[in-house]
Symmetry: C2
Subunit: 300 residues, 2 copies
């Protein structure tokens, strides 16, 4: 299967997700910027700001290609002279603290020596964890994974726990989800077509799941304490993205389009010195669940 | 001269600076937390939040020692088994957008093979650059440097331009200042005592300079546009500190006390997509000056 088939499907997915989010938001409209990259390729960055429910977010498509820099080849452990990469990346920060932050990414990479792989993931960062919703989220991801391989969910769930982790805080970014990388015929025994179907299924899981969570929570009343907590949790999101997120750091180091990369940062975030939530408060109960290895499917 | 002489002087300096800032602020009081480090040493973190003029900041002292980790030795390019490090670190975020953000650090480091050095710096990040104040700031730093060596200022000013730079934004963090590292007898031909005097002089420059800038600007009226710009500039400050600042990244990677390290982050920061200030606006005039190599002493 050709890379153009993949990138076309990614563009279509971007448009479907934009439509679903605009429809669920009811007010916000995505602004689309098309950009090109000197060395080859470009992208379509779609940003929403100040919607009804969505405060700030991006649904970005990119398709870049060109000479493979030595540094990048070294980082990836491959020796090739030309690369091609296409993907869809999403981060959404809602206004209401009871609506979770969400992130989704699917990507395809190939080099001129014939090697290729798919990668991606979805993870959810609720400011306040609602166990039923966490269960729902992971259940949907498991259903999506199971369509391709019943071993995928548990493997990719652990991968997400490890990836979306903030070592200096010793806490997970949120309730995790799935994360996977370097999926190809060699690593999975599945055909390229089957793996393509898998990542498209992951991408198609995003809109119904997130719009459902928007509807469930967007009307909930919130107070100043809730807002304060949301801004602090967003501070942690900023810490993760700027210090650890490989995609972000890779983009910053290789001269990617900054405004597209940093669309993941919230409209507002805050830091206070040494905050410890009161025992048994909703904030404290959420903090206690920000650990690896929680079985969200069977949480009691 | 003994390390204890140095750390005592640093503690005294911390207290002098705290007193001067509390006096200039008129309302805010520093909260002091003493902490210890499992492997040896500890510190005194002093944080101010929600003062009259100062919104959030820290004046931190630390004195840590113990076995030198291989990774750290490699980073520093030295082979020793034990280290000792003491320093004072300051970051202050004011409320009023017309008061600049300031950072100061002085530090002393030695290892059990006899090697030692001093390092540090001061840099200023005005949300709005006022040329006379930029000149005043650099003039004070030059005067302080000149007491030890008339070659220091121009050398350390360039070093600050290079250090306090955000490559992915292609802009400096602010108007720079001075930055220096690895000052010892070998690198400067000055005695250890003389270099100690220099870093203490740098430390003593902080309070009069910053309280002067507080007084000049704290009463200036500001509007929502000014506040919005301040939050965006703080976003850049967060980007610099989390992505590039060596002290911050070193602290995060080596398991330093997180709340002390991240005191440098503002109470609130914001990110908006693709903001370009209007031509000839104060915001645009400030942005245009965020470049390396400006001669602030003779700016017309």
């Amino acid at each position: 299967m050709d890379k153009k088939e993949i990138s076309s499907a990614f563009i279509q997915l971007q448009n479907e997700i934009i439509a679903a989010l605009e429809n669920a938001d009811g007010k916000g409209k995505f602004r689309k910027d098309t950009w090109t990259r000197t060395e080859g390729g470009g992208g379509i960055t779609a940003i929403i700001q100040d919607g009804n429910i969505l405060e700030k977010g991006g649904v970005n498509f990119s398709e870049v290609e060109g000479p493979m820099h030595e540094k990048v080849g070294k980082m990836l452990g491959i020796s090739a002279t030309e690369f091609y990469a296409t993907g869809v990346s999403i981060v959404i920060h809602p206004k209401n603290p009871f609506v979770p932050i969400i992130h989704m990414n699917i990507r395809y990479f190939e080099v001129n020596t014939g090697e290729y792989w798919f990668g991606g993931g979805i993870d959810l960062t609720p400011h306040y964890i609602v166990k039923e919703q966490a269960q729902y989220f992971h259940r949907q991801l498991k259903d999506t994974c199971d369509k391709t391989d019943t071993a995928f969910y548990s493997k990719f769930k652990i991968w997400a726990d490890d990836y979306f982790f903030i070592p200096h805080r010793n806490e997970t970014r949120g309730i995790g989800g799935i994360f996977f990388d370097r999926l190809n015929h060699e690593s999975t025994s599945f055909s390229k077509e089957k793996l393509f179907d898998f990542v498209i299924n992951v991408g198609k899981t995003f809109a119904p799941v997130y719009t459902h969570l928007m509807k469930l929570n967007a009307e909930k009343p919130f107070n100043e304490d809730n807002k304060r907590w949301q801004l602090l949790r967003r501070g942690r999101y900023v810490e993760f993205n700027l210090v650890y997120d490989k995609g972000t750091r890779f983009g910053l180091e290789t001269g990617g389009r900054i405004e597209s990369i940093l669309m993941s940062l919230p409209a507002q975030a805050s830091w206070e010195y040494d905050v410890t939530p009161q025992k048994n408060s909703p904030e404290s109960l959420t903090s206690e669940l920000l650990v690896k290895g929680v079985n969200w499917l069977e949480l009691s």
